[in-house]
Each structure stands twice: as structure tokens, then as C-alpha cells.
Subunit: 354 residues, 2 copies
């Protein structure tokens, strides 16, 4: 059926969110969540919560959370912006910072939302092919452009780009904003983050999330850090679009857990240890595995098609991620779960590939 | 200080969110919240909650909440869209539905975010002056345009537009979408809503919120209802922008309370009763009060300037809303609080105006 108003509305190719199966027996290794539970500070906070405050609007500035994050990272609160997951933070950042006629650049293989936001917000862009080994050729990012977005470590490759190379990109682009999306940085070696560069470069924005290392994908918190001028422009746009996006549970839970750094460090180190073991196992099974600095691995089997492995895993109740996309359609992105979950996956692979 | 990147970013006139004073002794009648606490279903739900699920992404479709809302309103789930407050729902709707070169129209005095979203999303628009008595002249909305937005009841006037007149507007505009923003409709007489028209008119979208009648401004839930094609286009855009906006607490709390309709009807009727009493009191004090179908009143004093009353109220710890804006700069928007709060306000006004 065609409606009279069809030509006057916006139509986009619908994005299909990753599968979220409801069956609790399914081993879910397809959306890069943390297999370990959230900090106990969540339940402690909720037990003492006053639900009456829910009748009021939240603090539009999410001040409590911003201050906690600033303190945690040793920054001033004027250097921190919060949003509904890093998708919200990145969407707002694209809207705010990519406003020139020149093309914004990012890799051809990276977080799939970057080109989607550009299309939606009418931002011109160009993708730069990763090298054959799936690393970023930083020299391709030194010319004139409308802005740069680098996921570091990159997804779905898992590969980390040297900080020194990112510095070269930032220094070559003083007239535009360079966004470094550090969703997975907590799983990378210490010293990999660009966060300590925000005082040095006024065109650098570093983005983080609670969804991976903080085991809180369900609470939707992302944040950006940069110099106060950048953060102010970002807030101006955000308040103009929707002033009250961070709900009270987000602000309260996000603030309560940040102090529990010891717990997070523990779960991160467990995930990293499991990743190293699992990578070795994959090697024994005939997989080529890209070097991962994240909570997932990106792997290709020497004989068996990725799509078939993906499908058979699903049949057996183990969900991993397959991308039907040029260059990576023979790779699988596998989230690092608990040791038990990964052992079951190795058992399945051993059985299936024998 | 000027940065090299300043010309390449987007700058907006910053919107200043309404004041949210932290002092609990302040009587807060400035942001149209409900003075009564949320349903007890909130604490019941949270007591039985499993915090472990927070490590996973929420269901991107917020299916549980969508189904509950559909059931509550006697609709199919394909007719319901949910978002982070009605601001998110309206912003997404503007982005999706107002995509022609013709001007979107709405009143000159209405919800202040409509022109802001148009500016931000580069949507052409025109405001139509309210009549002298602050009612909407529906005949002005019957010509060719890019879309229509009617807040009904309107804010900050509080005035309800006859459903029959809205039907004329909808019928005159089959080629564009007509959005009826019913944030305050639960405080209006029964039968005022346009919700029962969505099956009849495929170009009608009705928007609601949990922030007013449901005492849950802090949880950020808004929703839209319309024919399945409209809802699908809206979801396509929403998923392309940010798939996971509704966090787990929102989905769970929003779903838990909806059945507690009896409680909501009780608080709504208390607010309406207080509004009628308070309106009468204002009349005795020399105020001209517009006929309100909402949880606030819009009033102007015969002698005393609105700005002065606003300022003196603030000095005495009573916050009401003043708009420094043409045509309404001698009016005050006063949220209906508890009887006790309104009595204190009447005491202050009696004292101040004597």
C-alpha cells in the first residue's frame, strides 16, 4: 500500500540490531558484552534508593555522574560529556563536529554505525581501506578532510593502533575534530589510550562506554572526554535536541559503580586471560586469528567457511557474529565469554571441524 | 580563545533547561511534574529485579514495554513506538516525517522545542499566531504545508483544541504527517484525545509521555501511536541512529506500572481538583487565568508584572515558570502541586499582592 505522504518522509535502509535471543541456555558470544555480572554497588545503591525522586525530571546535566567520571579519570567536570550509550555520544558528536563540506574519513572496516550516522545526518564521508593485514594505514589520514574517526582498538578486527600514529593523525588535522572511539580500550595493554592527550590537543575527543568493561550494557551509558570548548559545543547541541536523556537509574547506577575499579580490573584481567587461551586453541584448530586488544577475537578458518561455522554454532545454541560484507565475509567475530562458555565453543569447533 | 576547527563545527544557541534546584524545601512548580509519587509497582518490581541482566544489551525493540502499552491502549504492538521521553519521540518524528521542502507549521506559542528541532534538523517551518484569546485558529492549518504539529492541550497556555477541529486539520493534510502531542491529555476531559482516530487517519501520529500523569519524569519514557507504516518508518530511523536507547530500568519500570491505572486515575483526579480550586483562588487575587486542561495553569495578574511575581516567588523558595517572550511575558505558568504546596503559594501571593 502506498500512502499519500510517502514522498514527504525520510526513508532509511533499516539497520537490523544484533540478535538478542531470550533462551537463557544459549551461549551468547555475538554482541561483545561482558560475561561477568555488574559490580555489587548496583544492588547496594538500589536497595537504598528513594523511588519518590522518579517523579521529578533528572538533572539535565547528569552532574553527579559527570563529576564522578571526571574524578575517576583525573579531569575537570568541564571535560566530560555523558550520553545514552556511546552510540548517543558518537551520534551527537557527529552532529556537532562534522559540519564542513569536506569528507569525514574512517576505515572501510570499522564500527558499522559511522557511515549510517553520516548518511542520516547528511555528512559527506569517505572510507579508507585497511591494509591487507587489517591494520590502519595512518598515512592515509594526514591529508585535508572534514574530520577523522578511529575506533581504537578497531572493531571488528580487534587490532590496536599505536598511539604515536594517532598523534600524527591528530597533529595533521588541527582544523577538524579527531574522534578516538575507545569502547574496548580497557582490554588493551596499559598506556594504549589517548585520554592523556586531551590536554595537549584541543581537536581530540575520546569516547568510552559502560557496555563492555563495566558489564552494564543494559544501563546505556557512554561518555566523551575532551577540552572544555569541545564539551560545551557538544552539550549545546545535546540540550537543543533532548535535554533529559540520562534517566535517574542511569545517573545513580553509573555514579555508584565507578569507584569499584578493583572489581572491574579483576573481570578485565579474567577476560584477557581467557582471550589468550582461546586464541591459542583457535590456532590449534586451524584458525587464523587477528591480534586482539579487545574482549573479542576476529578469526578465519583455513578450510571451513565462516558462514557455515556461524550457522552451525547457532543450530547448537552458540551465537557468534558473522558479517556478510566484502573483505571480512570469511571471518567470525567471537566475544570472549566465561572460561566455561569458551570451552563449550572449543568443543563444538573441535567436533564440527574434525 | 578561537580554535582552528571552530568554522567546521555546528553551533547552536544553547537551550537552557528549566531550573532543577537541589534544596528539598523548595516548592517546585516550574516544570509540570506530578506532585504525587510513582506507583508502588516501581518498588515491587525493583525488589524482585535480577541485576545480572544489566550486563546484556536491552532488547532494542523494547518489546516488553511496547506490548504492555499496546495492550493498555487496545492497539497492536505494530502501532506503538517508544523513546527516551517524548522529546526523543518527537525529535525522531521530526527527523523521519518532516522531509519535504514545504514548511512545517505549528503555533507561535507552543512547546518551545518544536522550532529548535526544526533548526537543528534543517527543517523549514512557519509559526502560526494563536488568536488573541490564545486559542488555535484551526482554519490557518488547512493549506498546503510540510507537516503539522499541535500540542493538545497546548503548552504553556493549557488550552484544549476541539477534536472536531483537529479532524479538519488532519483531513486537510493527507499528504503530510500531523503530530498531536498529547503530553497533558490525561488531565483533560474524557473523550478529548485523538488516539481513537489513528485507525481512521494514516497520517496521524499521537504522542504521549510518562513524565506527567504517570509521575515518572525521572525514568524518561515517551511513546507514539499511529498506523503500522508510520511506526515502521520511525523505527527504521531510530535503529539507524541509536538502536539501544531504552535502558533496562526504563523498560522494566515502564512495563510494571502501566497496569496500575487506578492509582494514576486517582492522582490525576486529585491534580484536576486542586487545579479547579487554585484557579478560583487566583481569580479572587486578581489573576486572569486561561482555561486549563492540563496539570498547570497559565495566568496573568491585572496589576503586578509576571516577572516580579516570578522573582519574588523564587526569593521565597517557590519556583514557578516565567517566559521572557513576546505575547506571554506577562504570564506565569504554574504547575499544580499538592494542596499543601498550592496553599503556600496562595499565601505568598495574598501577602505579596495585598
Amino acid at each position: 500500500m502506498a500512502y499519500k505522504w510517502e514522498s514527504n518522509i525520510r526513508k532509511v535502509v533499516p539497520y537490523v540490531p544484533g540478535e538478542q535471543p531470550k533462551d537463557k541456555n544459549i551461549i551468547k558470544l555475538n554482541t561483545n558484552e561482558n560475561p561477568y555480572p555488574p559490580s555489587k554497588k548496583v544492588s547496594e545503591m538500589v536497595e537504598n534508593a528513594d523511588f519518590d525522586i522518579l517523579k521529578k525530571y533528572p538533572d539535565a546535566t547528569a552532574g553527579e555522574l559527570v563529576e564522578k567520571l571526571a574524578e575517576f579519570h583525573g579531569l575537570d567536570k568541564s571535560q566530560v560529556f555523558v550520553g545514552v550509550g556511546s552510540d548517543d555520544v558518537l551520534g551527537m558528536s557527529f552532529m556537532t563536529f562534522f559540519n564542513s563540506d569536506k569528507k569525514v574519513i574512517f576505515p572501510d572496516i570499522t564500527y558499522s554505525f559511522y557511515p549510517v550516522w553520516c548518511d542520516l545526518l547528511k555528512i559527506p564521508y569517505e572510507t579508507i581501506p585497511l591494509k591487507e593485514d587489517f591494520t590502519i594505514d595512518y598515512e592515509e589520514y594526514l591529508g585535508e578532510c572534514g574530520g577523522v574517526v578511529i575506533a581504537n582498538p578497531n572493531a571488528p578486527t580487534g587490532i590496536l593502533l599505536d598511539k604515536e600514529k594517532i598523534i600524527k593523525i591528530i597533529e595533521a588535522n588541527p582544523e577538524v575534530i579527531v574522534i578516538v572511539d575507545e569502547a574496548y580500550i580497557d582490554f588493551a595493554p596499559e598506556g594504549s589510550s589517548c585520554l592523556d592527550l586531551i590536554d595537549r590537543y584541543d581537536n581530540l575527543l575520546v569516547v568510552r562506554t559502560y557496555s563492555k568493561s563495566r558489564s552494564l550494557a543494559g544501563i546505556r551509558i557512554g561518555y566523551a572526554m575532551g577540552n572544555p570548548a569541545l564539551i560545551k559545543y557538544l552539550n549545546d547541541v545535546k540540550y537543543s535536541y533532548n535535554s533529559y536523556t540520562m534517566n535517574v537509574p542511569s545517573i545513580k547506577i553509573g555514579s555508584a559503580v565507578i569507584d569499584d575499579d578493583e572489581y572491574f580490573k579483576g573481570t578485565i584481567s579474567k577476560v584477557v586471560k581467557t582471550r589468550e587461551w582461546f586464541t591459542e586453541e583457535l590456532g590449534k584448530l586451524g584458525f587464523f586469528v587477528l591480534p586482539s586488544s579487545t574482549n573479542f577475537v576476529f578469526a578465519s578458518h583455513k578450510d571451513k567457511a565462516a558462514k557455515d561455522i556461524f550457522q552451525e554454532g547457532k543450530n547448537r545454541g552458540i551465537y557468534i557474529r558473522y558479517f556478510n560484507q566484502p573483505r571480512i565475509d570469511n571471518f567470525l567475530r567471537i566475544t570472549i565469554g566465561t572460561d566455561e562458555e569458551m570451552k563449550k565453543l572449543v568443543e563444538f569447533l573441535t567436533d564440527y571441524l574434525k
